[in-house]
């Protein structure tokens, strides 16, 4: 079961590699200050490949070859929507404040490389299952580039305890844990972070794999524990079956269940923007004031991508079907919640 969920990280990474190789990302605006973007992901993948089974390598390679423009657009929107929220939050504060960033269900995401490089005053925590992080740690340790980026050679903390590959430096920590085990997660987070300091939480296709109760407990506990935070979440929503006769979510659930036994427990429960954001606003056991913004990624495309950038995207590949892009993107949301 856990393996099935962990494998979704290969999908996320494959999509990103494909969007990079077709030049959707990096985005010249949002990733302006992200050095060597392509290089960092490609060399991560080169090293990762040597550690994967033949079968996993094969499926990633196949997926990379068959990736459609509509998927590259979506990956672009996903990455850009998160990074632009992240950048503007950090840009405003980081020059005079210390900020922590916690990526829950981080998978192979390499945001920390750029954030640690671009912002001096931050600490970055990557959270995922132990196996996932061991693999990631191994890749980062093997690859010279990351060793340097993380100053691993000189770092005293860089010793493998009992053969563990988890990385633990002054400003980058790999924290293994199961997001369903809320109290363990909170305990560990309190160990690695200062709960009084401003903290950004990222859940990029992570909440969607958790059972309703576990996800809600995680949201509630984190908001309770951290004095002041900023949560960025990207997830699919199922759409309204009753009112709009929208079958997207139901079909998605059936397809993923039958093709790979993957479950999305809350897809049809929090099927709209309002319902999804209610998980953050209806947080009861605290008097904290929370402001939540949410939009679907189609709205994000229409409202937040300027005309020049839209033109740039159009030139990359022939997008054969706009309506399909609209349908897919209106079933993914980007949320930010500040308290």
């Amino acid at each position: 079961m856990e393996k099935i969920v962990q494998n979704t990280d290969h999908d996320a990474l494959t999509c990103k590699l494909s969007a990079i190789s077709t030049r959707y990302i990096p985005c010249p605006l949002v990733h302006k200050d992200y050095f060597n973007y392509n290089d960092i992901y490609l060399s991560y993948y080169q090293t990762l490949k040597t550690l994967l089974s033949r079968r996993d390598q094969g499926s990633i390679n196949r997926a990379l070859r068959n990736s459609y423009p509509v998927m590259n657009y979506g990956t672009y929107l996903r990455t850009v929507s998160i990074d632009s929220l992240l950048n503007s939050y950090l840009d405003e504060r980081v020059s005079n404040e210390y900020i922590q960033v916690v990526n829950l269900g981080c998978g192979s995401d390499l945001r920390f490389v750029h954030l640690l490089n671009n912002f001096k005053n931050i600490k970055y925590i990557d959270v995922d299952f132990k196996d996932a992080l061991e693999l990631k740690g191994k890749v980062l340790r093997t690859n010279l580039k990351f060793k340097q980026a993380l100053k691993l050679d000189t770092e005293i903390m860089d010793k493998t305890e009992n053969g563990s590959q988890l990385i633990h430096t002054e400003n980058y920590v790999m924290m293994e844990g199961d997001l369903k085990d809320t109290s363990d997660i909170i305990t560990k987070l309190s160990r690695y972070t200062d709960t009084n300091a401003k903290t950004v939480f990222i859940t990029e296709c992570a909440l969607c794999y958790l059972p309703d109760i576990a996800a809600q407990r995680l949201i509630d506990k984190i908001i309770d524990t951290f004095d002041s935070g900023y949560w960025i979440s990207y997830d699919p929503i199922g759409g309204n079956q009753e009112k709009d006769k929208d079958r997207f979510g139901k079909i998605m659930q059936d397809n993923l269940k039958s093709s790979r036994d993957l479950e999305l427990p809350t897809l049809l429960k929090y099927f709209s923007e309002d319902l999804y954001s209610s998980r953050f606003t209806q947080h009861t056991n605290s008097s904290k004031k929370i402001t939540v913004n949410i939009k679907n990624l189609w709205e994000f495309y229409l409202q937040s991508i300027n005309d020049n950038e839209k033109k740039r995207l159009q030139k990359l590949q022939f997008l054969d079907e706009i309506e399909e892009l609209k349908i897919m993107q209106s079933h993914y949301i980007i949320l930010n919640a500040q308290w």
């Binding site: 999908d11 068959n66 079909i251 998605m252 397809n255 093709s259 159009q314 054969d320 706009i322 897919m328």
Partner: protein
């Protein structure tokens, strides 16, 4: 060659030998080379939109609309790409064309090109099924001979995408040298790529090819050519069809649950002798055993979602 036998094999999703495909394509070319850029078709006729390799849904389409043994059809293009049975879908239509030449018209869509099929799945499907690209090349040769449009009873114009600023009259389409890969611009490209929209005049298309055209352009075209309707496909419509501009244009979409994930229904449009319009709506083939989508082949194909 025994067309009926090949048809029955295709309908069962059986492998068709490379040599058979070669012969089919050659025969089809010989037939199509003699057709005009814009074919003339009589009523009653059933107009069908994009198919995109969804063979099982194409079979449903024929079931629900009488079948080619009994009625006339116009297919508006985009037979291949995206779905998992592009080859079978296209070959079935070719076989019907060879078997019943007067009962079926095949119009070229923007996917019936070498460049697009390399990106959108047909090429990969052939490589998967044959281990080499020969069959893809045979099919692409046929694509170059497909017609660009049709006119029903001199009153209804059929095309895959839409209008072009370079085309005022249907006769001008007849002058195009169509036997080539679809160019990146110009009249032939626009006919296959353009979309209707709420625009005041010709506008840039977000697809990067063709144009957006509005009610003005449609009204002009209808008036100049003395016709009453433009039927086209090319755009996914959740309800299967969509009339625009006071009924002067209709989009017909015939691939239900497009790409096995969009959740839309499909439609075909039957034009009667008195030119009245009858839409038939149909849904995707139901999943077997209540698990997933039966049309997805057993070999696990990647499902396109953001995970």
């Amino acid at each position: 060659m025994d067309l009926d036998k090949i048809i029955s094999l295709i309908r069962q999703g059986k492998h068709i030998h490379e040599e058979t495909v070669y012969t089919l394509c050659l025969n089809a070319q010989e037939l199509l080379i003699n057709e005009a850029n814009v074919s003339k078709v009589d009523t009653p006729v059933t107009i069908c939109g994009d198919i995109h390799g969804q063979l099982h849904d194409l079979l449903t389409l024929f079931d629900k609309s009488g079948g080619v043994e009994n009625s006339r059809y116009i297919f508006l293009g985009d037979f291949v790409d995206r779905g998992f049975y592009s080859l079978e879908s296209f070959l079935l239509l070719l076989c019907y064309k060879l078997r019943y030449p007067d009962r079926i018209s095949l119009i070229r869509g923007n996917h019936e090109t070498r460049q697009i099929t390399k990106v959108y799945g047909f090429y990969d499907e052939i490589m998967r099924k044959y281990g080499n690209s020969n069959v893809w090349r045979y099919c692409c040769e046929v694509f170059d001979y497909l017609s660009l449009g049709a006119v029903i009873d001199n009153k209804i114009f059929c095309v895959h995408g839409g209008l072009s600023p370079d085309i005022n009259t249907i006769d001008e389409i007849r002058d195009i040298d169509r036997k080539q890969e679809v160019p990146h611009e110009g009249a032939m490209c626009d006919l296959l790529w353009s979309d209707p929209d709420e625009v005041m005049t010709w506008s840039l298309s977000p697809r990067g090819a063709g144009f957006l055209f509005g009610k003005n352009e449609v009204d002009n075209f209808l008036y100049k050519n003395d016709i009453e309707l433009i039927t086209r496909a090319h755009q996914l419509v959740m309800e299967g069809y969509k009339e625009m501009f006071d009924g002067g244009l209709v989009t017909v979409w015939s691939a239900p649950n497009y790409c096995y994930r969009c959740g839309n229904v499909a439609a075909v449009l039957r034009i009667e002798d008195d030119l009245s319009r009858n839409y038939t709506i149909f849904d995707a083939v139901q999943a077997q055993n209540g698990v997933g989508n039966a049309i997805i082949p057993t070999k696990k194909v990647q499902m396109d979602y953001f995970l």
